[in-house]
């Protein structure tokens, strides 16, 4: 089973198309498509292993008990005496099988998901001349749809994302349920309920420990502070003893001291000493920190594929002369960047690189070159292409300057050389 999958993954996603030897390109944006099932697979494996090992110990324990009762079989024994032991053994074996099966099934499901995704994404790279353009269009829709869904999920619009998944027929391609869970936990934290978060922490404990996360300490600390605020000091002490000390003692002694300090001194004093622990927006901050931790667990970049492509798409259009253009209706703005609705996004982006200057005629907007449409400078400072100049010519040695609204001579129309 799972042995085959890595090679299958490598084979199915030859990056950048069938003949590409590129190591990385747009596929990097698909990171979450694969990262999440792999992370889930990891968690399932760890939990499965724990279960399987636990049941194995139980079986050997049961077996040992039975052996003890039988004691090398020298005389016949009463049925009733060992019936219980035997049944216990059988029960444990059943448990062991169930644990093994559950773990394997859950893992297979994730692996299936990964393989399925590989195939779907691979399809996008296999757009050949024959299947264009219908196919290319569909694939592009699929790709953009996926980016949009990721973005909506990251922004917390799970409901919309869910419907979009259904409308685009993306079931199995995107882990909406993971986001749903995460956002539920986030919401619970904002509502001052730490239980879902603690459950989540428990599920991802091994990964969090690897990351050196202090999330659990922070969550438990909030629980304690809540008790302190409500004046439940003995409960708070109990809580610290039971939950906080074991996790915080070794790695986060400072946090532990702070929490104990909050319990020991009066509420007023504690508020003065540790304002961040008692801040009114502490739950929101905690929720924010939780989301950051989630990103770390799943190894996501802080930005989404959508945001990357959109901002890059805008940046390659941006020139230093772009500015929001409100003089014409939105549909008539020719430059994407100059649309007043896009400009807020474009404002802080770098400009496109332009190696060779491209000069457009101020009047017609057509590209100037050295043969057909030679650029000329008018006294106003504007550049006009030869074609426009010909149109503005009003007789021998006379050209109409449309900006200054005067007649000028040929000598005032200056040839420009762009190198």
């Amino acid at each position: 089973m799972s042995y085959e999958s890595p090679s299958a993954l490598a084979g199915a996603t030859t990056i950048g198309g069938p003949n590409s030897n590129k190591k990385s390109d747009c596929l990097a944006l698909e990171y979450c498509s694969f990262r999440i099932p792999v992370e889930e697979l990891n968690a399932i494996f760890r939990h499965g292993q724990k279960d399987v090992e636990r049941t194995a110990t139980q079986v050997s324990k049961a077996s040992a008990l039975l052996a003890q009762k039988l004691a090398n079989a020298t005389t016949p024994i009463e049925k009733a005496a060992i019936r219980k032991n035997f049944d216990y053994l059988l029960k444990q074996v059943r448990e062991a099988r169930k644990a093994f099966d559950n773990s394997c099934d859950a893992q297979l499901e994730q692996i299936e998901k990964i393989i399925n995704r590989c195939d779907r994404i691979n399809e996008e790279f296999e757009v050949t001349e024959e299947t264009r353009p219908r196919h290319a269009e569909k694939m592009e829709r699929q790709q953009h749809g996926r980016y949009i869904i990721w973005h909506l999920l990251r922004c917390g619009y799970v409901k919309s994302a869910k419907i979009l998944v259904r409308e685009l027929n993306f079931e199995g391609l995107i882990d909406v349920d993971i986001f749903e869970k995460v956002h539920e936990v986030e919401k619970a934290l904002i509502d001052r309920n730490t239980q879902p978060c603690l459950q989540w922490i428990d599920y991802h404990r091994s990964k969090l420990r690897k990351l050196g996360s202090r999330l659990e300490v922070a969550v438990r600390q909030q629980d304690v502070i809540e008790m302190v605020e409500q004046g439940m000091i003995p409960d708070a002490v109990q809580y610290v003893k039971k939950f906080l000390t074991p996790i915080a003692k070794a790695n986060f002694p400072e946090e532990l001291k702070k929490t104990m300090g909050a319990i020991a001194c009066t509420l007023e004093e504690s508020r003065q000493r540790n304002p961040e622990l008692h801040a009114p927006d502490r739950w929101d901050t905690l929720a924010e920190n939780y989301m950051k931790e989630v990103y770390k667990v799943y190894d996501w970049d802080l930005d989404t594929a959508f945001s990357t492509t959109v901002q890059l798409g805008i940046a390659i259009h941006k020139t230093p002369s772009c500015k929001p253009d409100t003089t014409v209706p939105l549909n008539k703005v020719k430059c994407i960047v100059c649309r007043p609705d896009i400009w807020p996004l474009a404002e802080h982006l770098p400009c496109a690189r332009i190696e060779n200057s491209r000069i457009l005629c101020s009047m017609s907007g057509e590209l100037c070159d050295d043969d057909e449409n030679i650029p000329y400078l008018f006294p106003s400072g504007h550049v006009f292409g030869k074609q426009s100049v010909d149109k503005l010519r009003r007789g021998e040695n006379q050209v109409w300057d449309p900006v200054h609204k005067t007649m000028i001579t040929d000598a005032e129309v200056l040839r420009l050389y762009f190198l």
Binding site: A28, P344, S362
Partner: protein, 393 residues
């Protein structure tokens, strides 16, 4: 592996069950014989061993898992390239977030994904954007995707927008070329019968399309008919049709297409080894070809794009360089940093391209911005439009 162990464990379970039935339930007497006990002991040993082995075996999955993770990390980077720092996080920071959401909303609507668009609008309380008739729009978009043009034509006949004729011709052409592509001769004829006079203005086009229809699929490669099969046509039609319903069209599709393209170019560039050394502040590291909508002048001396801070200047000889470049040329020749403005403006320098010597004051500022006038606007606007029609590819 799973099946093997599943089978092993199942057989273990059933053998234990049989043993239980045989020894406890079916056997007579109240005691279990010595043989029975030995059998039981053996079975329990076997169970212990087997379950332990299964656990060990389960552990080996870990190797495959690590391998999978490594494959993933080797093939996919978390972030494609480093030099371009995005200035905004569209997930968190409000103006960018809202903007991106409204763009998504527009795109969803133009793509016929009404269901999602409605929910999204609800979820993020957007009341800024409104679509006039979402259901007709959805119908039209869905139909167009399937190659159906009836709903679009009906709309055109009811509302008679200014571009009616033009769109009709485009729609019919698209429909027929679609039919040719799919070898569906009968449907094309049926559709042609349904709608009269599609090509009033282009008399030649009708017979040509019919000719293409007669030849069938091969006409796609035929020089006489090839221009009828325009890949951008479908998108163009959809764009035009949806624009009747939305206050503004959605540029998101185009932006994302360019973005993906640019991204693959950039990551290729990043992998080829030139990194930060070629990186200019506030400018992308490589050029990605787009349809120009603004003049862009890169000073040939400084290799910097000119802007209002550093405008382009025409020298007496006609060559154009940036003002900063001129300033540097004069400074090199005659350091006048502390002298008066007069001296600065009258300091001499040589054009870097021709031997002509001149002073700063004779250079003329070049303004690349588009000049628009009411009289000429229509003409200029029309020209831009014809240029844009070929541009989306």
């Amino acid at each position: 592996m799973k099946h093997l162990w599943h089978k092993n464990l199942i057989s273990l379970e059933s053998s234990l069950e049989i043993m239980r039935d045989e020894l406890f339930d079916n056997a007579e007497g109240r005691e279990i014989s010595i043989t029975g006990q030995i059998l039981m002991e053996g079975a329990s040993e076997r169970a212990k061993k087997l379950v332990k082995e299964s656990a060990t075996c389960h552990k080996t999955i870990h190797f495959a898992l690590v391998k999978l993770q490594k494959t993933l990390d080797r093939n996919l980077d978390t972030f494609p390239w480093v030099s371009f720092k995005l200035k905004r996080n569209l997930v968190y920071i409000p103006p960018g977030k809202e903007q991106s959401l409204s763009m998504i909303y527009d795109l969803l609507m133009t793509d016929g994904l009404n269901g999602t668009a409605e929910v999204l609008k609800e979820e993020c309380n957007m009341d800024k954007y409104n679509v006039y008739d979402p259901y007709t729009l959805k119908q039209i978009v869905d139909d167009l995707r399937d190659g159906e043009i009836c709903s679009s034509l009906e709309y055109l006949e009811t509302w008679h927008p200014t571009e009616e004729k033009f769109l009709r011709s485009k729609l019919q052409t698209q429909m027929i070329t679609d039919c040719i592509e799919m070898d569906n001769y009968e449907r094309a004829v049926d559709q042609l019968k349904l709608f009269k006079r599609p090509w009033e203005d282009e008399r030649l086009k009708g017979p040509r399309l019919l000719g293409a229809l007669l030849i069938g699929k091969t006409s796609m490669c035929d020089n006489r008919y090839r221009d009828l099969f325009d890949n951008g046509n479908r998108e163009d039609i959809q764009h035009k049709m949806t624009s009747f319903f939305l206050p503004s069209d959605s540029p998101l599709r185009l932006i994302m297409r360019f973005g993906t393209q640019a991204l693959s170019q950039l990551s290729e560039w990043g992998l080829s080894g030139y990194n930060s050394s070629y990186y200019v502040e506030n400018e992308l590291p490589i050029e990605v070809p787009v349809i120009p909508t603004h003049s862009a002048f890169t000073c040939p001396i400084l290799k910097e794009q000119c802007s209002s801070d550093n405008p382009a200047m025409r020298l007496v000889c006609g060559h154009v360089i940036s003002r900063d470049a001129i300033a540097r040329l004069t400074n090199v020749l005659r350091p006048v940093r502390n002298s008066s403005r007069y001296v600065y403006r009258h300091s001499r320098f040589k054009c870097p391209y021709c031997p002509r010597e001149q002073i700063m004051d004779t250079a003329k500022k070049v303004d690349f911005s588009k000049w628009q006038n009411d009289d000429d606007f229509n003409e200029g606007g029309r020209k831009m439009e014809t240029m844009d029609e070929h541009s989306p590819e």
